[in-house]
Subunit: 333 residues, 4 copies
């Protein structure tokens, strides 16, 4: 039985706490939030759990095995570091930290102490992403050409980060999970219209083997879009996360250029076959993820979405922001 302290009981924290409390091998023993209103809600939901406004009480408690950090990104580094120092495993919200340096330090600390860090890239535990990973692993898509995602909506404006740090971590973690290579360089463009942070941004990532990835994030879109195109030599995928039932469509379509005897004898063949929407495994992604975290702790194994994976995402976020601020300068990752 892993005993958890949950720091942060705002929007997402209650979901983390609920799952940790209902899973078989874990329970929540303390919840911390700076806001009295949040503490009141926590107390009602968990009458028998210790509720406090002081994170140190959790981090230092000998009764607690692991800490879930479900707070704004600028607090992740301090809280995670303190928890690790006191020998706790840490489940931390995405993005992992505010900069690469912090993430590197935490990764090293966890390694020294032989503790687990898991960064909450929940999407990696959805049926949709798992299904796409299955297709990639099985070689069904063939050589990858591109990953192109649009993730836009109206708001929610954050006051401490730009739209890249808010929306792009989803795609960057998915990219990192699906593509077995690491990006070489990033080019990003964007614009700041309202509150001093970029609210519209376009990120291109260059990967080896001519794989290209693009992420379109926008807080000023009148409609919500969550659509990703993945092009491969053999098959192509359209993933629309807003569809209730047919989130993933796999197209047996492609182009084959058979010969090129001089520029005007290019023979282009288009293949257009069936479309197939596999059934997606239902179930709450966060529950699967936390179950997996408990397993990793119990069996002393490294999660694939560990601090190093979180660091890779932070590296891309940092590079994208830097590139954007220099109007698209190529930043090596």
């Amino acid at each position: 039985m892993i005993k958890f302290g949950v720091i942060g009981f705002g929007y997402w924290g209650p979901n983390v706490a609920r799952n940790l409390d209902t899973l078989e091998d874990s329970k929540v023993v303390a919840i911390c939030d700076k806001s009295p209103t949040a503490r009141k809600r926590a107390q009602q939901a968990y009458p028998h759990v210790k509720i406090t406004g002081d994170a140190a009480e959790l981090v230092e408690s000998p009764e607690i095995d692991a800490i879930a950090v479900v707070t704004p990104v600028w607090t992740h580094y301090e809280l995670t570091k303190a928890a690790l120092k006191h020998g706790k495993h840490v489940f931390v919200e995405k993005p992992f930290t505010s900069c690469v340096r912090q993430a590197e330090e935490l990764v090293n600390l966890a390694e020294q102490k032989n503790l687990r860090i898991m960064v909450d890239h929940t999407f990696l535990f959805t049926g949709a992403v798992r299904k796409i990973r299955e297709l990639v692993d099985a070689g069904s898509l063939g050589k990858l050409y591109y990953y192109d995602s649009t993730r836009v909506n109206l708001g929610l404006f954050q006051h401490d980060v730009n739209v890249v740090w808010d929306l792009a971590p989803h795609d960057l973690s998915i990219l990192d999970y699906l593509i077995d290579k690491r990006p070489e360089a990033v080019v990003a463009t964007g614009q700041t219209h309202l509150n001093g942070h970029e609210d519209v941004a376009y990120i291109t990532l260059y990967f080896p083997d001519k794989i290209i990835a693009h992420v379109n994030v926008n807080w000023l879109s009148p409609v919500k879009v969550r659509t990703t195109f993945i092009g491969g030599e053999k098959k192509m995928v359209v993933w629309n996360d807003l569809e209730a039932d047919e989130k993933i469509k796999i197209y047996d379509k492609g182009v084959h250029i058979t010969s090129q005897q001089g520029v005007y004898n290019l023979l282009v063949n288009y293949r257009s076959g069936d479309m197939w929407a596999p059934r997606i495994q239902p179930g709450e992604a966060l529950k699967q993820e936390l179950q997996y975290f408990i397993e990793c702790i119990s069996e002393n194994k490294q999660p694939f979405n560990d601090g190093v994976a979180g660091l890779r995402v932070v590296r891309m976020l940092e590079a994208a922001t830097k590139s954007m601020q220099k109007r698209g300068e190529l930043i090596e990752v």
Copy 2:
């Protein structure tokens, strides 16, 4: 009655010829195509019109007032130049020319000779684009924030140009038409997977007043997408050109940041009102455009989609290709 010679009777040429032949104040007197098959089709459709394989016969004919150049882009410069030299007005396919230098030369030549050039940016004559222009002109959208277009499909691979020169001229001409400012700089990224030309590309254009434009073009998409988002301070537009009936949706949505007393006191107000899909004027855009060309010739007035407009688009295409080849280097326009 303006007498036309049509050079090029491949895919689009027959539409140009048909409209020119049925409009009240113009007629087609000669058609030229290098391909015997195309000439045979032309002869069947226009039994009483001169059909030839030699463009010089049209360009030099004293009987002809104006030439329609409906051929691949790499031939536009020579054909247009010859036509202008012989005193003909020219209607020329988009993109205007293969490079800025050629376009500049043609614009100057036309000016010296007091002849009209019209570049066939057909989209500017569709009901959809005219309606959006109306909204912009009336100030309905408020200050513009962004223009974001996705124009992707499977093929048709071109053997002489990349996907930017094939698909982006539509968006670049629309941008040029809708936004009353000129772009300052371009950043483009892309990748070449199949035939030596980029088949996936992402273009960002920086405009004054923080307007940002983005165009996503791709020849390797399993599904066809033609969707443009236009964000303004007061209203936002989603234009889906593949919709049969409701191509344009206008959203009374927005964000208003009322005060910013320190970063944590940011007050963000979201406005979410009605959506409205105005009826789009039906009718063939090309017909409207050619009618307008005839008017411009007859009344000796400059079309808004003249050689100078065509040159602006070529300038953006050239800058985008240059940026793309340097992996996103900022290119001033």
Copy 3:
């Protein structure tokens, strides 16, 4: 403060209880369910509320002012009758009762005792239906032509009622609310494929003034559909309840037959104008409904969705089933 007893804590009961408990002028003082599992869930959610398996304890309790009956339809009559007899107001799930006779008896009993019955036709309190009612009331649609609804999905098969009693009450109550006339007659057809109750059914209702209504209900549809077309002389409405944002679209479309001098001189004019999707008032419909029930009790006024309205729906359901069993025989309502 109205004190409520809630009978039935299965799928819908918890929603009723939660709203009654959080509204300002009501509270839940007792919950009853025959299932020990349901009682356990109730006890966890409401630690300070009396939980019992015996409905009589609620119905007879002098402490309770009103009863919410959230149980299967075949129990409504007995429970509502008992509650009324003991002087309680009753909020009862739809459909009101299993047959017309029962509904009539309950309506009479409530009238004698001057008690309120509200039948839970929740849809009447959604933003979408309220907006359509507004349009009808304002005369925006003009003379009504038809109401045509498709309400199909896979399952959930009921073991005690057919698909008409399960899915059609929604449409029949909406019809009853929107159309100020009463149906003259019903024709229904259907078929029984699986469990002895009709799982596919088509209901036509003839109204005065040539208004016709049609309801398509089906438990064997591979996809869920919730779409209603409402045709009027001036405007037409398409309501797609599965759309997240633009549930209601109002079309400025119509047909006008101007003259009919002999059958071959019929002049048909089609009008095709803008489409408009008004913003729908958000908020939980059930909360609005229960708030209204409390008002009706406090102010001693008759709700519009009272027992008489519930009776009208039961009358249509009974007629539809009768017609269906006689393969479409016309049944006067």
Copy 4:
């Protein structure tokens, strides 16, 4: 080489003529239309073909082998009869005739004269319907439960027939083609709002083995819908004919009721698997159909869409109209 006379050169006639003229084994030798405008159009398109306003010239011409009757329904009987009497095979527009008696007489006459009649149920030659037929033939859908089609749009109002005779022939011919049983009885309801003919109608057909079919046709719908649901024991099909690419979706979904030990022990299992959109064979359906007609003439074989098939559809149309006029009375077919 089969020589054709085409009677009727309005909306559909030009398509029939074009195909007959370009197919290898047929040619058009004469075209007839009562309208001078139509004759002028015909003359321009077919300069070397005889154009006339007198159908007798075609019907009696010894040079002509077969007649295509592409005229309003009320003229089909007379023209087809005259053609058969003069020994011509006949390709006739749907619906075959205005009443059962006429269709029976023509079928008998063709049989006596050993001539072919083909009724132009073009939909049976589309890739979509052929694919569904393939699935049915292969037993992929399992036992059929229902066929449910919605075919609605704004107009086009006909002055001589109601909406059933205008729009339902498509579905009735498809039903007749897909289901290997004949309908037992029809129930139809509808309403007349504008020009004296029913403009909204709902048709139920009862087939043996509990198969039920339903067709919803409406001339007063603000949006065009062409959607058909086909439910089977093993698989279910949704055919949306307005989709450009994925017209047919096959759902591996179903319901299985495993045991029924008393009404409350009903065990309902829902199966929800993949969805699959097979590639539809492209190509013009009318061309395929006319090619097949020529084959049937040449090889002296009976087409499956012969006069008898056309008669079955007319029988259903007649029964539906009769039922509708008696407000849903059950009419045996």
